[in-house]
Symmetry: C2
Subunit: 406 residues, 2 copies
């Protein structure tokens, strides 16, 4: 990555940037006594931008958050796992508004400045007494080291919490960007396919924040696919509270590009964590497309390959079935000449100009036995590149999803 | 089905119509000594129409058949299973042409009047000596009772041969339409997602045959989904040899509609057989969408539900997770109001106006325990209806596709 020196990794996730506190508590929405409710809070109002699920069916918290963020300002996020508050009708909308109302009251801020999110089982009402008690406890426990607990509290079938943060210098000031995310089924482009909450102490205009988030989200969260389904609850929210004291970032200046690249780094790493932790995944897959006519074409093809059930099952079986890779690329709906395509597993070329090479099957198998596999397609149509991330399709994916609700 | 009385089921598959012969032989392209090469032959030249895979990557036999059918006339079909002759470059094209050349020589017809098809593993060259010997044997064994052997010979991971035929009266003449098909992985709309060969003794113009095939194919083969991947080799070919002696069918008259409906019946039954025999499938799924704004919207939504990995895994787990059904519908890219949607499992309503009903979970489970499950969504957007067919996502799907090539 040519930008690797532009920023430094820091601990703390969403509480790494100045002025942010978080907490994750056990509200008993989920079984098993795991943390299941988080609050993230900025000590001053923050500029807010968000990306939402493209599903026609939007869960109540998504609809409420869309209304609340119309003013492009927020100061807190309240989120629960265990129950998605999706397909819950008018009661669901009232419940989502109530969550914001309680959080606003307890934090002393306007309810419209509260982002609401939920993830979990659909079609079931929220246990509002537990939610109220959980918000109360979380607000009491807010701390500048609470990012990790918040990352835990938003997990559903995730096996590990996901957080990431970087700092970088911009005009003599240190800016920090931190995020948490959860997967891990119903993960597919457009959008969001997950929950991700990103905080930063950057001073930035609402439009610039949205542009940066849209750009970074397209190349990260939207480039991850686990199973082809986009959830009703997905959202990516970014709060920028300005406490870094930098010259406010606007438009397309060098500050904007610095910020956008750092935001992309955070989004991309969170997205890769989601792919790595896909439901039942035993392998992480990175698909690199080179030589695409344009970046969008490359991304579409990379996603099609990463999302193909047949490619994913072959990966699980450690089978160098490169024909499925080319066929999946051909299903992306993007024109290209299959007779030019070279395909690589790791650094081993397995096909040239769309046809078989007699490659070393043992070496291919040892590459596919790895925990992380890189597939590269060189389309030789142009100069653009893109990537997508996914995982294999395993017995455990079926097991988890055959039994998730019960 | 309101049209059920219009036609009668007959045995014989592709050899049911007058003037067609077929054979299926062991050419040893596949392991295990199973039939793997078929020839279908009409004693007179036939009008031909075809639908082809929409994959950018088209296998050599698809490209050769497209050229051969430019003249809308064919008299024979030669097809092998075991090796797909896909991703095989110039050699693959030469091999596909050679198959047509041999079949043409042995049958005494022009090679351009031979349809060529292959299905199986990609990226591997055809064993042409075995293919030549196989074609020779098949031509020798052609018979008017050979439809069943041909249906067997085109199977790959299919567990049962698929054939169907109907006869009906049209202007005082009896017309017969018969077909064979193979699935069963890489099955997804657009199109073809399989091989299907349909024969009829109807006299019909090339344009009318194509229109009828396109219409019937959209509502049958294109409404089946097993795993979201469209193969490089898919084609549906229909040969109409005119030996029924009917007044030639053209345009949109009543003869055309009779023929189209009967062709649809054959295509739909073959398509349902493919869904029923999806790789690893333990259950057959029919998704019915009612109240759609238009038929195309309904079909798109029905396919999205039938194709959702999460719906399919819930079906495998016999879990009445109707939220996934609504969410999958919402991912179809078609606008509708989720707050109007009613959902049924079999005849049990599980959601009303997009939210939960407190339904009988035991009854839901007993419906889901069935071998065939019908999901109905009433969108209440308009008066159109559509269906799609699929199967559950089982451990066996993963097992089969993790190990297919080796």
């Amino acid at each position: 990555m040519e930008n690797a020196t532009k920023w430094d990794l820091v601990p703390g996730g969403v509480t790494a940037p100045k002025g942010f506190q978080a907490a994750g508590v056990v509200a008993q929405v989920r079984k098993k006594g795991r943390r299941d409710l988080a609050v993230i809070y900025s000590q001053v109002p923050a500029v807010a931008a968000a990306l939402y699920t493209q599903n026609q069916v939007k869960a109540a918290p998504v609809l409420v958050t869309q209304q609340h963020l119309a003013g492009q300002t927020a100061q807190a996020i309240v989120v629960n796992s265990g129950i998605a508050n999706a397909c819950t009708g008018e009661q669901g909308l009232a419940d989502a508004r109530q969550m914001a109302l309680w959080a606003g009251e307890m934090l002393g801020i306007a309810p419209e400045h509260v982002v609401v999110a939920s993830t979990g089982v659909m079609g079931v009402p929220l246990p509002m007494q537990k939610i109220e008690a959980g918000i109360r406890r979380a607000v009491r426990e807010l701390s500048v080291t609470g990012g990790g607990a918040a990352a835990e509290a938003i997990m559903t079938t995730d096996t590990t919490p996901k957080e990431y943060a970087v700092k970088f210098m911009c005009g003599g000031r240190e800016i920090t960007i931190g995020g948490i995310a959860k997967g891990s089924g119903m993960i597919h482009p457009n959008l969001a396919t997950m929950l991700a909450f990103i905080t930063t102490d950057a001073a930035i205009s609402p439009d610039a924040l949205y542009d940066a988030l849209r750009w970074a989200g397209d190349r990260s969260f939207n480039a991850v696919t686990v199973d082809g389904d986009t959830s009703t609850n997905d959202m990516v929210v970014c709060l920028a509270n300005g406490l870094a004291g930098n010259e406010p970032i606007t438009g397309q200046g060098s500050g904007f590009l610095l910020f956008r690249d750092a935001l992309f780094e955070v989004c991309r790493e969170l997205a890769k964590m989601i792919a790595r932790d896909g439901e039942g995944a035993s392998k992480f897959l990175e698909v690199r497309v080179k030589g695409a006519a344009c970046e969008e074409d490359g991304r579409t093809i990379a996603r099609a390959v990463a999302g193909s059930s047949l490619v994913k099952a072959a990966l699980f079986g450690e089978d160098a079935n490169w024909g499925r890779i080319l066929s999946a690329a051909g299903n992306a709906g993007v024109p290209f000449d299959p007779d030019r395509v070279d395909i690589y597993l790791g650094d081993l070329q397995v096909a040239a100009r769309g046809t078989a090479l007699s490659f070393d099957e043992d070496r291919a198998r040892s590459i596919l036995e790895g925990r992380e596999v890189i597939i590269t397609l060189d389309l030789k149509q142009g100069g653009a590149e893109a990537m997508a991330w996914g995982c294999d399709l395993s017995f455990d994916y079926v097991r988890i999803n055959a039994q998730y609700r019960t």
